[in-house]
């Protein structure tokens, strides 16, 4: 390497061709660089209250609304987002009992008075809520700025931590996307 390239390095774009093609097809494809995508499917037959769970290489999980969630499908106006108070208080406290996958961590209420419950989805601890989350962001940028919480799974092994989840392919297949 000569001294010129040490000061202003040149980048060989041919190395990034594949990535660029992928990104051009889908602006959110970059998230796959940082997370593996998993989905949590609504178990009841008539509703589609589905969630995404992105897992980072450090095992932390980001939970938010999947594209098929009724709050994103129908034009429902959201009135409030309430994070569970007990869970909020437990953040950054040591020696907490882990939440079960079914523990409610947040309730979203629409203008019409309908309540949507958000569950932890993985056994573990909420280590951060999206404190910047507002009604607008939740529905406009659900897959980035509109995430709901970050959870640290109790299980280190992703297969065990995400045992209730399915991958993106399976999710699309089930929901005919």
């Amino acid at each position: 390497m000569n001294s010129e390239s040490l000061i202003s390095p040149k980048y060989d774009l041919s190395l990034y061709k594949k990535i660029s093609e992928k990104y051009e097809k889908n602006s959110l494809a970059y998230l796959e660089q940082y997370y593996t995508k998993n989905f949590l499917i609504d178990s009841s037959e008539n509703t589609t209250e589905d969630f995404y769970i992105y897992q980072a290489p450090n095992k932390l999980c980001v939970i938010g609304l999947a594209p098929t969630h009724p709050l994103l499908l129908q034009s429902q106006k959201v009135k409030s987002i309430k994070f569970d108070e007990k869970v909020s208080q437990s953040i950054s406290k040591k020696r907490q009992i882990p939440l079960s996958a079914k523990s409610e961590i947040c309730v979203i209420t629409t203008e019409e008075g309908k309540n949507y419950s958000i569950k932890a989805g993985v056994v573990g601890w909420v280590i951060d809520f999206n404190i910047k989350l507002d009604v607008d962001m939740l529905q406009k940028k659900p897959f980035t700025d509109g995430y709901i919480a970050i959870i640290k799974p109790k299980q280190d092994d992703p297969r065990k931590a995400l045992n209730l989840c399915i991958n993106e392919g399976k999710y699309k297949e089930i929901r005919n996307l």
Partner: protein, 510 residues
């Protein structure tokens, strides 16, 4: 010697000399008990020293030699063993004492000019020396005299000087108390090792041993040298005489030694490194026994330095670090190596230049180091402070979801001479080990250049501790504003390089 003769001729000294010759202590030990602080005198032969002692004792009486003199002058094997030094100071300048040290020094081939000694004496010495003091006082009492023995010199002092002088002569080194090269040697004497236990049978000693469990084993504590000495001070002579051996029993064995430990204190070598590979880490990256990067900057340069300094080990410390997939270019990142126990503790600048060349030739595609030079311990603080306080300059390859236009480039370049303050929540990628916090960070300058379609490159100068990758892609909105926010699109970083760590290092580098 003249002053010894003049100052030490009186009844007190004569009685001490007589008493100690009676129990066949060595001449050097008797000198200690006389409180003679001119250690050069001790270097004389046993024969000369005994002559002086005989003169001290005989000036007031008839001129006759003490009956022990001849037996004390017989060959070492035939001579009774001195009970106050187990013959250690008697042999301090002989090959017996020197040999283990010379052998160890030569086998390690230390390249040093000075040394210091760290000596541990057999614990039995304490009780035996006390016993001889008690015995002397008893002799004085029998003659209706009193004596003050507070000037008796501890065995360690003159022994250290004598041994030091012989090492100086034998190895051509200087004995210096400031030397970073330390020869540690521990002597023992098995038979008298437990002698201090008699203190447990003397109530006035108030000597108590405690049984504690260490690693599942029962161990006695409370018998440190200081505890033994403090306990002895409390014991009246009469108590000691009735329970202890006074004078000490004759010894059948001389001193022995454990293997000497030769150690040079750490030295430091500093420089700057350039990391050209996106596959190697800064220091070995091993998680759960699994290697996640094939090698590291630390190993690439440290292993060659290990050979040059012939050291036991090394520690690598740098002013901050970059991720594995980030290159460190420009003038490089300041670092230093702590070289542990070097056999060759100093390399000339020429030798360092050669080592640097060797490192750079072997690792051509991975790392380059420059400015390699010896640094002092005082300099190291620069690196530690630099980690927190210095500005960093980066180069990044960026993809944005819009086609790059001159307007977009202008939008970024308006921050070329304008600071931008961003708010960074702890990135998700480090949130498992760092507490959630919001930190304001300053981006001092940003400059973009268009490449084709969606690609652009950027040079950024930022405050230390700014997470660049998160500033570009936004980290799910946790860094505000992000580059994506500024351009109202999605952005991702495909490659990152550090161009400059703004820190003057090494300090004496022009």
């Amino acid at each position: 010697m003249q002053h010894v003769m003049k100052n030490y001729v009186n009844l007190t000294y004569q009685t001490i000399v007589d008493t100690m010759l009676d129990i066949k202590c060595c001449a050097r030990c008797i000198f200690r008990f006389l409180g003679i602080r001119d250690y050069k005198c001790y270097a004389k032969s046993e024969e000369v020293l005994l002559k002086i002692l005989n003169r001290i004792r005989s000036t007031l009486q008839e001129d006759s030699q003490h009956p022990s003199t001849n037996i004390l002058l017989s060959k070492t094997q035939d001579k009774p063993i001195c009970t106050t030094c187990f013959d250690l100071i008697y042999q301090a300048d002989t090959l017996e004492c020197l040999w283990p040290i010379i052998e160890s020094f030569n086998s390690h081939n230390f390249q040093v000019k000075t040394f210091n000694l760290s000596i541990t004496l057999p614990s039995g010495i304490i009780i035996n020396n006390h016993s001889v003091k008690v015995y002397i006082r008893q002799k004085f009492r029998e003659r209706n005299l009193t004596v003050d023995l507070s000037n008796v010199i501890d065995l360690k002092e003159p022994f250290k000087y004598l041994l030091g002088w012989s090492i100086e002569k034998e190895l051509d080194l200087n004995h210096s108390f400031q030397s970073p090269f330390i020869i540690s040697i521990e002597y023992y004497h098995g038979i008298t090792q437990q002698n201090h236990l008699i203190l447990t049978r003397i109530p006035s000693a108030e000597f108590k041993l405690k049984k504690v469990r260490m690693k599942g084993k029962a161990v006695w504590t409370g018998d440190s040298r200081n505890n033994i000495i403090a306990a002895l001070e409390k014991v009246p002579d009469s108590d000691f005489i009735s329970i202890g051996n006074c004078p000490p029993l004759e010894e059948k064995e001389r001193w022995k030694n454990y293997f000497p430990i030769l150690e040079h204190s750490a030295v430091y070598v500093g420089g700057r490194y350039i990391k050209l590979s996106r596959e190697i880490s800064q220091s070995p990256w091993i998680i759960n026994g699994e290697r996640l990067a094939k090698t590291s900057v630390s190993e690439c340069s440290g292993e060659i330095l290990r050979e040059k300094f012939r050291c036991d080990d090394y520690n690598f410390v740098a002013a901050g670090r970059e991720d594995v997939n980030v290159r460190m270019l420009g003038n490089g990142r300041p670092f230093y190596f702590e070289i542990i126990n070097p056999r060759k503790p100093f390399l000339s600048q020429q030798e360092l230049d050669d080592a640097q060349k060797e490192i750079n030739e072997t690792q051509k595609d991975l790392i380059q180091i420059n400015h390699l030079t010896m640094v002092t311990e005082r300099d190291l603080v620069i690196i530690k402070e630099g980690e927190e306080t210095k500005r960093k300059t980066y180069s990044a390859l960026i993809w944005i979801s819009k086609i790059v236009t001159p307007e977009i480039i202008d939008k970024i370049n308006q921050y070329q001479d304008k600071e931008l303050t961003i708010q960074q929540q702890t990135p998700i990628r480090v949130l498992q080990r760092r507490a959630q916090m919001i930190r304001p960070k300053i981006i001092y300058s940003m400059k973009a250049e268009a490449l084709e379609n969606h690609f652009l490159t950027m040079q950024l100068q930022t405050e230390a501790g700014t997470y660049i990758k998160e500033f570009i892609h936004g980290d799910l909105g946790r860094t505000k504003p992000s580059l994506g926010d500024l351009l109202d699109c999605y952005a991702d970083i495909l490659a990152l390089d550090v161009l400059e760590v703004d820190l003057k290092w090494p300090p004496n580098n022009n």
